[in-house]
C-alpha cells in the first residue's frame, strides 16, 4: 500500500505505467520463470499473475475490519404530552397566533451592528478585531489623541446611561421613546469608548479561546 500512497495527485496514466512496471519487477523478483515469458505480451497471463500477486499482498496487509462499536450516548426526545398539543391547537383555534401587524425586519438593525463591532473590537482578536476597529474609526470623527481622563469620563457617562436604560423591563422599554433615545446614546458612547481604548492602549483585552 505504501506504493499507492505515492500516487497522491498523480496523473492516472503515469500511475498505470508505474503500476505495470512495479508489478513486472515484483513478479520477476518472486518467480523462477524466465523473463522471456513476461515479455511474450500475453495479456491474460500478465493479468492473472497481477491479480494473484495483488491478492497475496492484500491478504498479507489486511487488518481487522470488524465494525467499531457505535458511538455511545443517549438519543433524547423532547416529550410533548397530547394535552399540550391539544392546548396548542385550541390556542390556534382561538387566534393566539394572529397578529395584525408583521414585525419589522430592519428593527434595531443599525444599533445591532454598532454594538457588534464594538463587541468584536473589544473581545475578538486578529483580523476581525482589526476590521471592527477600522469600522469604529470610520464611525467616529477623528480628534485630539485621547487620554486616560477621556476614558474615565466616557466610562462614567456610560454607567450613567446604563443606569437609565437598565431598570426598564422588556415591556416598558418597548413603549418608551425616551428609552430608544437612551439606547441610541448608549451605543454612541460605546463606540467612542471602544475607539478611545484602542488609541490609548496597546490593544483591547483578548478573550481566551479554547
Amino acid at each position: 500500500m505504501e506504493r499507492n500512497r505515492e500516487h497522491q495527485g498523480e496523473h492516472f496514466t503515469a500511475a498505470i505505467a508505474h503500476h505495470h512496471l512495479t508489478l513486472q519487477t515484483e513478479l520477476k523478483r518472486s518467480t523462477s520463470l524466465p523473463s522471456a515469458m513476461f515479455d511474450a505480451n500475453d495479456p491474460m497471463l500478465e493479468a492473472r499473475l497481477c491479480e494473484a500477486t495483488e491478492g497475496i499482498f492484500r491478504r498479507l496487509l489486511e487488518h481487522d475490519t470488524a465494525p467499531a462499536p457505535a458511538a455511545g450516548g443517549e438519543v433524547r426526545l423532547e416529550n410533548v404530552a397530547p394535552a399540550e398539543l391539544a392546548a396548542l391547537l385550541c390556542a390556534a383555534h382561538q387566534g393566539a397566533f394572529a397578529d395584525d401587524r408583521a414585525p419589522d425586519l430592519q428593527e434595531h438593525a443599525d444599533a445591532e451592528f454598532a454594538a457588534l463591532i464594538a463587541e468584536i473590537c473589544a473581545r475578538s482578536h486578529g483580523a476581525p478585531q482589526q476590521r471592527a476597529a477600522d469600522l469604529l474609526r470610520g464611525a467616529r470623527p477623528t480628534g485630539a489623541a485621547a487620554t486616560p481622563a477621556d476614558i474615565d469620563a466616557l466610562t462614567h457617562e456610560l454607567a450613567a446611561r446604563l443606569g437609565r436604560v437598565a431598570p426598564a423591563g422588556a415591556d416598558d422599554k418597548a413603549a418608551g421613546a425616551d428609552d430608544d433615545a437612551a439606547t441610541a446614546g448608549l451605543l454612541a458612547i460605546c463606540r467612542q469608548l471602544a475607539a478611545t481604548v484602542l488609541r490609548c492602549t496597546d490593544g483591547p483585552a483578548q478573550e481566551r479561546r479554547p
Binding site: 433524547r76 398539543l85 383555534h93 445591532e112 451592528f113
Partner: protein
C-alpha cells in the same frame, strides 16, 4: 413504531450514501490527509459494513444520473441534496454505477476519490482506461460501470426523475455554496458572498414559481452531517416568513444570506464536538458556545456581506429575555432579521434529527417553543406559525382513512392543508383513476378527510381531536384576516 427489516436495510443504504457524499465533500474541500477527510472515510467504511450486517445485498451498488443518486432504481433523495459537486464529477467521468464490496477500507476509498474527484484524472474512469486505472490505484473493492448506450450490460439504468430537476438543483446549489463557504471559513479564506446571494435569488425565484418542491426537499434532507442541511432549511424557512412579512426582493436576499450563513462559526468547531452523541463536557461546551462569536468574526471580514449576516450569526442563540449566549459586553438589541433567524433556527433544530436527539413533528415543535415563549420574539414566532401552518409543506401525514399523504401547501387555513396522497386507504396502492390531491377539511366525493397523525422519519404523533376542528378554523383569523368558508 417497529421498523421492518426492509426499512432497516433501506436506512442502512441511506446512511451509507450519506457517508459517501460527506466523505467526498471532505476530500474535495479539505484535501487528502485532512482529519475531516480521514473521519469521513472511516464513516463510509463503517456504514458499508453495517449495511452488509443488516442484510443489504453486496456489493452495494449506487447508481448516478446528473441530479441524483439511486439504489435499486429508487432515488436516494436525502443524500442527493448535498451531492451537487460529487454528481458533477461523476457525470464528467460518465460513471453510471459504483458497486462497493464490504472489504473496502479507508485508504482504498481515498484512492477511489483520487480518480473520482481530481481534475487531472477526469478521463481515468472512461471505458477505455477504467480497469487499468482502478488496478493502478489499487481500487479492488469498487466496481465501476460507465454510462453508455453501446453496451447493454454496462448501461446506465434509467431511473426517472427523483424530483423536479429545477428544485433539486437549486437545493443542491444552496448546500454546495454553504459547503464551500464553510471550507473557506475554516481556511480563513474569503467566502464567495456573491455566489451565496445569487443562489438565494435563484431560490426565491423557485419559491415563487413552485414553493412545494423546494420545501418537500427540505423535509427530506433531515440527516445532517455538516450542519449544512440545517442552514439551508433555516434559510428556506426564513425566506418564507420574511416574504409573509412583506419584504422586497433585496431584503429577502439579505435575509436568506444571513440565515444561510448563520452557523458558519461551526466550521471552526471540531467535528468530534459538533457531531458528538450525548452530552458535551464543559470544555466541549466552551468550544460549542463560541460558534456565534466565531461566526460573527468570520462574517465581519467579508466586505461584500450585509451587516445583518454578522448580527444573525452572533445573535441566533440570544434569547428574547436577554439570556442565551454568547454574553456580549455591550448592550445588544438583536435586529428583526436576527430574531427571525433565531425562531427558524430553533424550529429547524427541534424538527430534525441530531446525533443526540430524535426529530419532533412541527406541531410538537410549536408546543415546545410555546412552552418557552420568553425565549423568542413572540411577534416573529406568531408570524412563523401563521406562515408555515400547523402542517408545513413536505410534512408526511396519515389521514383518517389510513391513507398516507404529503402536504403540498398550507391550504386556506393552517390546520387544513392540501395534500398529495401517497397510498390509498389503509396503506393500499392508490387506484390509478383516483384523484391524488385532497384538500383536508373539504368534501371530496361526499367525504371530508382529516389528518389523524403526523410522521417524522422514525415515529408518528397522533393529532388530538378534542377542541380542534379544522373546518371551524376557517372562521378564525388567518394572517390577521377573517375568512369564512361560506364567504368563498
Amino acid at each position: 413504531m417497529t421498523r421492518t427489516a426492509t426499512e432497516i436495510r433501506s436506512d442502512a443504504v441511506l446512511d451509507f450514501a450519506h457517508a459517501f457524499v460527506s466523505a467526498a465533500h471532505n476530500r474535495r474541500l479539505h484535501g487528502r490527509d485532512h482529519r475531516h477527510t480521514t473521519s469521513g472515510l472511516r464513516a463510509v467504511s463503517l456504514a458499508l459494513r453495517q449495511a452488509a450486517a443488516t442484510g443489504v445485498e453486496m456489493p452495494l451498488q449506487l447508481q448516478f444520473d446528473d441530479d441524483a443518486i439511486y439504489h435499486d432504481a429508487q432515488p436516494l433523495l436525502s443524500p442527493s441534496l448535498q451531492a451537487r459537486a460529487l454528481l458533477a464529477a461523476i457525470a464528467q467521468r460518465e460513471v453510471a454505477t459504483l458497486a462497493f464490496s464490504p472489504e473496502l477500507d479507508e485508504d482504498e476509498l481515498n484512492r477511489l476519490f483520487d480518480l473520482l474527484l481530481q481534475d487531472q484524472n477526469v478521463r481515468a474512469l472512461s471505458r477505455q482506461h477504467r480497469e487499468r486505472s482502478l488496478r493502478a490505484f489499487a481500487v479492488r473493492n469498487v466496481r465501476v460501470t460507465s454510462r453508455s448506450a453501446a453496451d447493454p450490460g454496462d448501461r446506465h439504468v434509467p431511473v426517472g426523475a427523483a424530483a423536479q430537476p429545477a428544485d433539486l438543483r437549486v437545493y443542491q446549489q444552496l448546500a454546495d455554496t454553504l459547503h464551500q463557504g464553510n471550507a473557506a471559513a475554516l481556511r480563513d479564506a474569503t467566502i464567495a458572498v456573491d455566489r451565496a446571494a445569487s443562489v438565494i435569488e435563484q431560490t426565491l425565484l423557485q419559491l415563487e414559481q413552485a414553493p412545494s418542491g423546494l420545501l418537500s426537499l427540505a423535509a427530506q434532507d433531515n440527516v445532517d452531517r455538516f450542519t449544512v442541511g440545517h442552514s439551508v432549511r433555516v434559510a428556506l424557512l426564513a425566506l418564507q416568513v420574511a416574504r409573509a412579512a412583506g419584504a422586497g426582493r433585496e431584503r429577502l436576499v439579505e435575509v436568506g444570506t444571513a440565515a444561510l450563513l448563520h452557523d458558519i462559526g461551526k466550521s471552526k468547531v471540531p467535528q468530534e464536538i459538533l457531531f458528538k452523541r450525548g452530552r458535551l463536557d464543559e470544555a466541549e461546551w466552551v468550544w460549542m458556545a463560541q460558534h456565534p462569536r466565531l461566526g460573527a468574526d468570520i462574517l465581519l471580514e467579508q466586505p461584500e456581506l450585509h451587516p445583518s449576516a454578522v448580527g444573525a450569526a452572533f445573535c441566533h442563540h440570544l434569547r428574547a429575555d436577554g439570556g442565551g449566549y454568547p454574553c456580549a459586553s455591550v448592550p445588544l438589541e438583536p435586529s428583526g432579521i436576527s430574531r427571525l433567524v433565531r425562531v427558524c433556527d430553533v424550529f429547524e433544530a427541534l424538527t430534525s434529527v441530531r446525533p443526540y436527539k430524535r426529530a419532533l413533528t412541527p406541531l410538537e415543535a410549536y408546543a415546545v417553543m410555546r412552552r418557552h415563549e420568553r425565549d423568542f420574539d413572540q411577534r416573529w414566532f406568531k408570524l412563523f406559525v401563521r406562515t408555515l401552518g400547523v402542517f408545513p409543506q413536505g410534512s408526511r401525514v396519515r389521514l383518517d382513512d389510513g391513507s398516507m399523504a404529503v402536504v403540498l401547501q398550507a391550504g386556506d387555513n393552517p390546520g387544513a392543508p392540501v395534500v398529495r396522497l401517497l397510498t390509498g386507504p389503509g396503506g393500499a396502492d392508490l387506484p390509478a383513476d383516483a384523484p391524488d390531491i385532497v384538500a383536508i377539511g373539504r368534501p371530496l366525493d361526499g367525504v371530508v378527510r382529516t389528518v389523524q397523525s403526523v410522521y417524522t422519519r422514525d415515529r408518528s404523533v397522533a393529532v388530538p381531536e378534542d377542541g380542534w376542528d379544522a373546518t371551524d378554523y376557517l372562521t378564525q383569523t388567518v394572517h390577521g384576516a377573517c375568512l369564512r368558508q361560506d364567504d368563498e
